[in-house]
Symmetry: C2
Subunit: 466 residues, 2 copies
């Protein structure tokens, strides 16, 4: 498949967008790179639409001229989602920033794609509601929809999939559609909304999202607990989940990770496998949860069970958790991060984490382990020098082995980072003959192959010639 | 579109299936009718495969000869889902009844499509786990996937959509695919699993399902409370949801419904708008919930707050709730039921229910109202004589007005019953220009149009000539 003349598209868009269409190398490069080691693949131009009609206009021009479109949120994805593999026009959605409605009575809100999760929560201040999904980065809601983001709160509230009630989408032909309604449940036809959630901009551009909101828990308590052995920490999580404790968050940090966090965030956690818990609910519910979890932790050899009930102590703890990325990079000045994640059935979690840790040691790599372990989801964050081919080869091997173990025990090749172009082969392996159905979806919704080409399925396959 | 020769398909299947292929009028009619007023539309034959390979065999023959296939679970759907509108072969999945695995440690199970929810729960006895989705009827798990069933527990546990981790599906060409994994969350490609959930057998035949299981709550309490006015009952639910109370179930019955239930199930509830609550959780959590909800009910004029903490009292109450269908039919001997449902944003619930009730009175119809009101979902169950054209015209008007009001306030034309062929026009109205995307999905996955034709989108459109 050959794409059309991108310069013709740029010329057609210039009169409408003026200085909201950028050809500067710096802007293009910034939009062709995510936060990870993936090399820059800059688009030919970056356009900053202010309103949905402008998104439609861009898409119509690109459809007309058969030019690739790469939707862009905040660029905080992990698997090369924003790389302009075949050039084209990047549509930066950050200026679609209207909070169209907050409906406190219905516990929902409609926001444009460029609103970030922190902006949304700031707007919710004083309503008694919050939007709990928290992937760490202050990602845009549109981007979080597109990558099916989750993070620390997913064990309690689910992922983006569970939060999205309806979507406004510009399709690859420039038309605007709405999927879903504000009803909490529906049996009306195919679940188009959830087909777009996690579609990584390959089927259309999300321009607005209606989301569930949640009552801020009456009471929140956080605690840390360290364990002599990683397996004991994981066992504590497994038993907590199995006991049906509706825990708010439970995060695992291995000893390497704790050391990095202590150093970067000036904490004094024991350098040992550590769990960070958060409990949400009524006072009675939280008390019951705490007692049960503390018993489970004690039975598994947990020590240093420490409370952080004051909001400022909790904030400090979670800020440290969220700064893990920077803490890891600081372990090795000048390095880049290669974060990878898998998600496994929880009974398999300890074995998977342990094996990954041994692989890292054996391959002489730096890769702290952390995880949203209540879901069976964990990360290796390789701290790498991407220019060292031998190191990258070893990283690739450890990553592949981690994913293959996850698939072998019934897990997935990515719990929350997505496929981008970094994990296409693993998706192929995971899906087996269902991979063809992924291609069926892509071809049916984007027959011209202009929406973020080369991602998820890798289609159009013959793009190398474009 | 003309379909092929169904008798040729029958001849090709006979040698393999013997008396598991039925041509008897009684069997065919039973499979061409759901529990509602929809007229019989019998398939040409009913086949009872025992294993997945036999499902593939049937589908291959039908694909080869271009013969319609109608998947069948227990026939308890509501919108004509199983009607053989264009004839063809009905695939009764009831003999796919293996419970392939119950994995207590992972809180999941893999069952074949024909296992019913009660069978599954019986198999879970003693594990401390349960499968909470409860649409009333003892539906098959495959059917519940296909209709995206929900019911009384959805306010707490979500619908089938939230329970399904992965699916085994026979596609319209007879090939077998698996979607999803046992991981609790995944960002691996398009959400094929949830595209099949709710697809009503129009994209393939679900043969096995991996489901989430849930810990049986440590403590369960149920209560009833009646209110002078319907709006007060609804207001109590709205405020309960808005307060973030993680209530287990909350069901509304209007006065007509209470009267029918009292008569049929020999209860002595006050004949007034009534809520039935169920609280799940640790003892402390349940106590907190109860106090809060009781305060809310009191403030809204609730009276006769009555507890049912003993399991036998709870069972009696919920049995009565589940027998509503039969209680309603008993209001008018010889009648049939026409159940319809909508789901609206919760702030709109009182107005929608009130308006529907007034319409029913005005049109001189019998239609008790009940609902899974924590989700904003409610039902009118018209008790009808389908042979009376004038009555059916009035029913149609009231139904249409109820749905149009729901759509106008951001709701959906069906919360849990699905589209079948009964609500295609309403789906068209709800989806607007996104209706074309529903057709895109159907055509991409079933280009020959043999899977349960005439449902959801109504495709193939020119089937009248088949």
């Amino acid at each position: 498949m050959r794409y059309g003349d991108v310069s013709a598209a740029i010329e057609r868009l210039k009169p409408s967008f003026g200085d909201r269409l950028s050809l500067s190398a710096a802007v293009r490069e910034q939009h062709g790179k995510d936060t990870t080691f993936h090399p820059v693949r800059a688009p030919d131009a970056v356009v900053f639409p202010n309103v949905v009609e402008e998104v439609q206009q861009i898409v119509r021009v690109c459809a007309d001229l058969h030019v690739p479109i790469i939707p862009f949120g905040t660029g905080t994805s992990c698997e090369g989602h924003v790389a302009a593999l075949h050039g084209g026009i990047c549509v930066d959605t950050s200026q679609l920033r209207a909070v169209r409605a907050i409906r406190v009575d219905d516990l929902d809100a409609t926001v444009e794609a460029g609103v970030t999760r922190k902006e949304l929560n700031a707007q919710l201040h004083g309503t008694g509601l919050h939007f709990p999904i928290d992937p760490g980065a202050d990602a845009s809601i549109g981007g979080m929809v597109s990558t099916r983001a989750s993070g620390t709160n997913a064990v309690r509230y689910g992922t983006m999939r569970e939060q999205v009630l309806s979507l406004e989408i510009v399709l690859p032909d420039g038309s605007l559609v709405h999927t879903g309604t504000r009803a909490r449940k529906s049996a009306a036809g195919y679940d188009l909304t959830h087909l777009f959630v996690g579609s990584e901009g390959t089927l259309g551009i999300v321009t607005a999202v209606t989301l569930k909101l949640h009552a801020i828990p009456e009471h929140i308590a956080a605690a840390t607990c360290s364990f002599p052995e990683l397996s004991q920490a994981v066992q504590t999580v497994i038993q907590t989940v199995q006991a049906g404790v509706p825990i708010g968050r439970v995060e695992l940090l291995d000893d390497t990770q704790v050391e990095a966090v202590n150093r970067y965030s000036k904490l004094a956690l024991s350098v040992a496998p550590t769990l960070i818990f958060e409990f949400h609910g009524s006072r009675g519910a939280v008390q019951d949860q705490i007692e049960l979890v503390k018993d489970i932790a004690d039975a598994n050899g947990g020590c240093n069970f420490e409370w952080a009930e004051r909001p400022e102590d909790r904030s400090r703890l979670w800020k440290a958790r969220h700064d893990i990325w920077w803490a890891n990079l600081a372990l090795r000045p000048g390095s880049q991060g290669l974060p990878t994640d898998v998600c496994v059935p929880i009974s398999q979690l300890a074995a998977n984490i342990q094996a990954a840790k041994e692989d890292v040691l054996q391959a002489d790599l730096i890769a702290p382990i952390c995880g949203h372990v209540g879901d069976g989801n964990f990360h290796l964050c390789f701290v790498v020098n991407p220019d060292c081919a031998d190191e990258m080869r070893r990283v690739g091997q450890v990553n592949r082995r981690m994913i293959e173990r996850a698939l072998a025990c019934g897990g997935t090749c990515t719990g929350e980072h997505g496929i981008g172009y970094g994990k296409i082969d693993f998706l192929r392996q995971e899906a087996g003959n269902a991979f063809a159905l992924h291609c069926t979806v892509k071809r049916a919704f984007d027959p011209a192959g202009i929406m973020n080409p080369g991602k998820i399925t890798g289609e159009p396959f013959d793009a190398a010639t474009s």
